[in-house]
Symmetry: C2
């Protein structure tokens, strides 16, 4: 069951922008992050949520999309995220956020996928610009942005090609392929 | 459903050591990590799995347990983990592992919990000692150790006490309490 959810949870970058996400839905997903483990239980993460079109339009240009697709500048209007969750680190709680934001982001995205949405973790962010448009207290460190919406993209796992490249690609129909290492590639000490 | 799984997935440090975990179970959980997102799809993580008592006994003393419990040195013999997954970074693939190991560790632990097991992410590790006992190629960076087993511990979430401390504690019955910030503590911009 979890495996099915994890298999469905593919990074997706094209959405039906008209399928809106409510504040309550976003809070329900953040709650999953809140329930997740935190290094030394410090819980230094804060969340900024955005679901209004006008605010989303300010966030969008601060994000970099799909670095390996050189001829694609990111989703066109109509296929942009319906909501964002910005994950911040609060240095008044800890100077070191460890992998807390990875743990929380995974919980949040799985929650979105369970409810029929999807999204993408974005770490390539114009941080100064994003902090400015959201009027964030500049003490916060911007760690990750989760772009969320109803996916209109088909994403498939693929084998790593003979040249070893892990760059995802799209075919002529727009299907997005993500090459994944095999289990025996990643487990050092198994005979299976 | 996911929320129920995340709520059950509490960091647990005391196990029924006689409830063994097979290599196939460990591989099934690593598979969940493999299916998870990776920054720029680089997939720089490798996994070392351990389920043999003799090897587990070498790993155990390289780990630090429950830093806030000053009068507890970690689980006694009989309550130690039945298995470990050591998550490594391969610098031949990337020098920067981002939060990949947090994402993967969360997937793996949720998989263990779904099957009635549980565990704990440990980042406080005597890395040189662990590398030595496992005969790891010293190019690998040891990122996290997941300690796994059938939990014999009751772990409950609690409110943060008035002094604001996030240190977990145990009561006289050995119940382990973890104080968690509230949703309104962590979401910067909600009116709810």
């Amino acid at each position: 069951m979890l495996k099915e959810l994890l298999t469905r949870n593919r990074s997706t970058r094209r959405f039906d922008q008209s399928s809106r996400i409510s504040e309550d839905q976003l809070l329900g997903w953040v709650e999953l992050g809140r329930l997740s483990a935190s290094g030394a239980n410090l819980q230094p993460l804060k969340y900024f949520i955005s679901t209004e079109e006008s605010q989303n339009a300010l966030i969008f240009p601060t994000l970099a999309w799909a670095g390996y697709l050189k001829d694609w500048d990111g989703p066109i209007d109509g296929e942009r995220p319906a909501a964002y969750i910005v994950i911040l680190g609060d240095p008044e709680i800890s100077k070191n956020f460890g992998v807390d934001h990875g743990i929380a982001a995974q919980s949040i995205l799985l929650g979105a996928v369970e409810e029929g949405f999807g999204g993408c973790m974005i770490a390539s962010i114009k941080r100064d610009a994003l902090g400015e448009v959201l009027h964030l207290d500049n003490r916060y460190e911007i760690l990750l942005v989760l772009a969320l919406g109803k996916s209109v993209e088909t994403v498939k796992l693929a084998a790593i090609p003979p040249d070893g490249s892990i760059k995802y690609w799209r075919d002529e129909k727009g299907i997005h392929y993500v090459p994944k290492r095999t289990l025996s590639d990643v487990v050092l000490n198994t005979s299976k």
